[in-house]
Symmetry: D2
Subunit: 428 residues, 4 copies
């Protein structure tokens, strides 16, 4: 099924040193236009506005996920573990490589406004009339379907799904280390080699030898720290808030029949939520940044202002709230309104933990496959039964509400603000 290459190819990678390509199918997939498009999508969305090093693409990350998967499988094969279904190797590698192929620019804000989902797009690209699909069909006619099943977590064999998508999967193992490397923070470092060494296929699951528990604890702590220090950083969130306001405003204008000076394909289709796979290809981050740049010249003052803010990094300031105070929101909303500032776009509550991110919390609804420890007597236990550290992280509910608003605009209205509002917003 898999054709080995005449000679192994490598990519130089700052995180894994080298990424090794040994199968013609993988090589061909990397060279499709759909995969190359990932070079034009940043891995961390708006995070580069907080950590300027975070300019790496989903292309790099996707290669990394592939490489981690390759190393895990190579370890399984080298040790000839009987519970490893050897025939699934290429499927795992392809799914690992392609799991993010449907990611668009600034996914969170766009998906929130226009209701698409990157996982669905990945499947559409895998199954549609694409170069990716052609390469996969060369393996077998049923292969694209299988890859899509793994990506959408419906494949019949849990062990295959869990390599790409579980609480301890190649996806997270790559992005934690990679994002730490490019942002320059220390938090994402854990002993990847050691974790790979203690992973085992066992009765249809991927499990971890109990002796590796501390390494997994370390990985989970990294994840915890990365979420709260990097991914949920209030400045990054502020950029998301501005971006969401932009799309929300543009959508409103579009629905109201506003005549955009800049409105080229495939924008119409995006607004109409009718993008085809072919059109989706053109919707990369370079395109969206050009759109923002052009919209900063639009006549609508709100759209224009918000776009300039994003491009010039003049973001909203924030205050932290323990809970949502509806009365306060209404009062601030009225105030802004009275100053001619539309609170629909300029006053936003953000609550990091209600995102679909996944600090490790067994028991929650969106739960992924849990981490199982295998002890010397071949008993399996979920890790939080054994590790007090994991148990304690799991219970923690850290989210706080952040209220975002245009601080500098209020400076012109200091006189008109009550003392308590001034204190609340740090304007006194």
């Amino acid at each position: 099924m898999s054709t080995p290459m005449k000679e192994e190819k490598v990519f130089k990678d700052p995180v894994h040193k080298y990424i090794y390509v040994q199968d013609q199918t993988i090589w061909d997939l990397i060279n499709t236009k759909e995969f190359q498009r990932l070079r034009r999508i940043r891995q961390l969305g708006t995070c580069f506005l907080t950590f300027h090093g975070a300019e790496h693409s989903r292309f790099s990350h996707s290669l990394g996920v592939y490489e981690v998967t390759r190393r895990i499988i190579s370890q399984f094969e080298r040790n000839q573990y009987e519970d490893w279904p050897k025939e699934e190797r290429l499927l795992c590698l392809c799914a690992a490589l392609l799991h993010d192929v449907g990611h668009g620019p600034f996914s969170h804000s766009i998906e929130k406004t226009f209701g698409s989902h990157h996982e669905e797009w990945s499947c559409r690209i895998v199954l549609g009339d694409t170069e990716v699909n052609q390469v996969l069909r060369r393996v077998s006619p049923a292969f694209p379907r299988q890859v899509a099943d793994v990506i959408s977590k419906t494949y019949h064999r849990e062990i295959v799904v869990s390599l790409v998508s579980s609480q301890l999967d190649a996806d997270r193992m790559d992005y934690l280390i990679r994002d730490a490397y490019f942002t320059g923070v220390n938090y994402g470092t854990f002993d990847l080699d050691r974790i790979l060494r203690v992973m085992r296929p066992y009765q249809g699951h991927i499990v971890v030898k109990e002796s590796g528990m501390h390494a997994v604890e370390d990985y989970l702590m990294s994840r915890y720290q990365m979420y709260w220090q990097v991914y949920f950083h209030p400045v990054t969130r502020s950029a998301e808030v501005v971006l969401h306001s932009i799309f929300q405003r543009a959508k409103k204008l579009y629905e109201e029949g506003y005549r955009f000076q800049f409105m080229i394909a495939p924008l119409h289709k995006l607004f109409q939520q009718q993008l085809t796979v072919d059109e989706y290809y053109f919707l990369d981050e370079a395109f969206m940044q050009t759109v923002l740049m052009q919209w900063s010249l639009e006549k609508d003052p709100i759209l224009s202002d918000l776009c300039s803010r994003f491009l010039q990094r003049r973001l909203f300031k924030y205050i932290t709230l323990e809970r949502i105070d509806t009365q306060l929101m209404e009062r601030l909303g009225s105030l802004l309104q009275s100053f001619g500032i539309d609170p629909d776009y300029y006053l936003k509550i953000d609550f990091p933990s209600d995102l679909s991110y996944d600090v490790y919390r067994p028991g929650e609804q969106d739960e992924k496959l849990p981490i199982l420890l295998l002890d010397s007597k071949n008993t399996l236990s979920e890790i939080s039964c054994k590790s007090e550290i994991v148990r304690s992280i799991s219970g923690i509910h850290m989210g706080k509400y952040h209220l975002y608003y245009p601080h500098e605009l209020l400076l012109n209205h200091l006189q008109e603000l009550d003392a308590d509002v001034r204190i609340l917003l740090g304007l006194s």
Copy 2:
């Protein structure tokens, strides 16, 4: 002149750990729209097509150059060196931060085709009606002019110029390490701390204590390796060649009155070589990538094909030549022509060392300020008088000619090729 900030601010940086901002002027410059624009210009142009990690921006690099300069000056001040003109501190820092502010997207190809120059643009931004200029004028009315003089190397004090632009300047010290970090290669690592420790202001020059000679040798070797392993990598050069063909074709079409389907501001002005500073702001890399994407849909088959090649990384192959063989070129040109392939865009000679890059070669025309060693008796000598290693690198002329061509197109014409051409192009 300089207003210290109430509280030092920092940027997390993967290369220097932290970048420290202590002056209000620096903080304000970073927040101008012209400086923020550098986030949308990649530091290494097309190099990300060879080393996928090389996706970092000129924004990151410019902060880095500023930081290296700050550390050098801080060392000079801490040691109270008498030959250091303390009043030039802020000028050095601003020039360091802004030296690349005029960089456009894919500078080499665009400058080659349209005859602009990024250093000129830096000066135009510093002197023109810009946010940068406003911030600088707040220091003093003459200050923008001084910054521009340092950037264009005409400032009256060599010591100021040489911090930003010499054979051992903050610019190179940052980019070698930064580019090595993001590409993941080992070559760019040298002991920056040690070099900073052995630098001295001395009689109007920046010199290096002789005891630091080996550290400087190591830096020069890094530079040598980075040029030949990264910056002149044949695949990166191939992307440049394709890009140059694109702009060359577009210019030709424009001059011939071709009706582009996609031709928005400021493209017209670019073709007419009449861009204003305001228009230049819109010409970032996101814009140029969108242009390439849209042009891949143009009717002109050459322009469309070249753009797709670039975006999908289907670059030209190359062979190495010891010298330019005019006869061979003509013969290959005719062959391509006879297959319907226009050799003006599809057959290119590239000779890396005729670029304006600067492997250390004292004696050459474009020579920058040399590296001077200061011995214990306060005698100065140019480093290649003392170091055999430097002497030997300086003499080396490594450049070879590379001939780029569309290998895969020729596969359809194998029968029509003579045996020697087939052997030459590795098609036999």
Copy 3:
């Protein structure tokens, strides 16, 4: 009081890059014979038998503690914090440098057997007739006493003591990173620069800005992991157990009047617990290893066997017990006895957490100065009130009992062992 050096001196250090010496007193202290002696004491005792890289000395670590302290103070001075008592700078630096100067070889085992204590020895060296004392007295006659007070934590100013000895002190910050570097494990890495940046002198305490809480959490997690992964590693503990048996046996023999073939100064005095400072100087790790080597030739079979075991790394095996089972111990003891193996030296219970190590546990008796967070309203809170992570680590009681025994000797007596003992010891 402090004489700055004409020119700053540096030591190249793998952990901090460079260690900067700026005071003549520090330079002179480093060059005393007592401080140079620390080159002959390993930082991690027997740990090199588990992690072969852990061969670094207390000399390196002591320089590191000095350097971390220097950087903290330098930050305090640069920011001109009013609550920092500037006049204590040199005292802090000297105490940081000298806090371990009294450490002997294999401290834990020797101190356990012979009842000395390294902190006392540090004070004796600071106050006694030594080169260190001479250097300190040159600062002022009272200075040695002050240094000794800081080391023994009785100095009247808490802020000075807490730099060198608290839950977040220069000592731990250096050793966690250094031990991680030399062993090669990942666990000890945290963002030292960030922690230094958020430390503040405040009303007689060293406190941490609340915004730095996550960095401190990361540091505490590192500490937790280093204790359980490195410092309490069962193989390292096994070497300690063997070492303790050696000294216990030698002491018994000495008290019984055994004629040692190798018994040179200052061994007699060690046994008699009457070492002078002059004699203590000779008791370094090279000496103790030579003693072990020579004692491996002694006629007493127990002493000789134990020494060979240690030198050739033939350590005891272990099993893990949830609690101490006196009956089991007695039964195993009798068994060993019946095979001619003396259980006093060959059967040992070890319980890591009853050592004086300090996983962060506020509320325990040996409690060090806690970590205080300073919020934006200048309120102080102990960190575990704010951080759920810290709270959860603090409560964890992970210690398990390890039973050490000479596994390979029992293999000769398999027939004589009951089934349950065989199962318990993994001999079936």
Copy 4:
């Protein structure tokens, strides 16, 4: 011949992350007393007195050389290169592991004074009545002889010898990186993974693909820098000079019948140059440091002084000379004599490059197997024919003479020194 282990074992290593043991023979060799003894021999002799981190042992290095060899062979096997003699795998691994097993403490000085040689000792240990020999004989009766042949470079197959001992061998590849890691300098870093990837077995040689030439250049530059920055550092050399004076003095005293207060086995045999393999085992670095410590109490003032100097790091100062000036030496010798200082021990010329170290110099007598490049047409060329960088390093003759003398003693005799001597020695 080789018995694979039931389960792969690993050692955590700071340089290679993990060292993998897959053969029972390797595991058994590591556990012999002779190999464990290497824990008590520092890899870099006196270098820790210059770079305090350089406290790592030959044990660590030997494991590293084994691991690099294992990775090279594993690459050869994975790619199924036909020119690789598979049956030599275990021999290569054993020779790599054991090549330094005969190293004694402070080898250079002791070998210079007492005329032994560490390579001979390695062979004696491999062939003698030792635990190492027993383990090897279990492979086959002829196996110890083969291992000894590889170590002494007389084995009939060049390809086996060259893995362990050539211009690009596992020995150097490990020590350059390891010594850089532990000293903390940058110089030793090169791309080991890349070099391993371009090595090929070819017609009985180990060769390098020409495309890897730059990586090899980088390795050779690292080597060059490490020699001149670390291994030949004048302070390290000064410690060697003092050490040599100590052994020279002790030998003289011994020959004159001086009654040493401290003279235990195996010192007598060392002086008589009649050490057996059993006695050699006791001669580790801990022993020699104890000897130096005890001799610092001897009555002979020269021996006592020199030992204290070494232990307390009060080394000789030096001046650099372009050539040996016999007249000057005689004059200085007489001067010292007239001050009661014996020039035989206190005035020494050192010329780094006359050591047996090996900056890469094809053409010299002690030449090791050269580095061969294999181009795409399967032609071999010695690297300096292709690389101007290598050619230029090869020709460089950097050695200068250093004159070592006890600077501080001369300060008492300033009046008695002529002006030119004072200037020469920097005493004016």
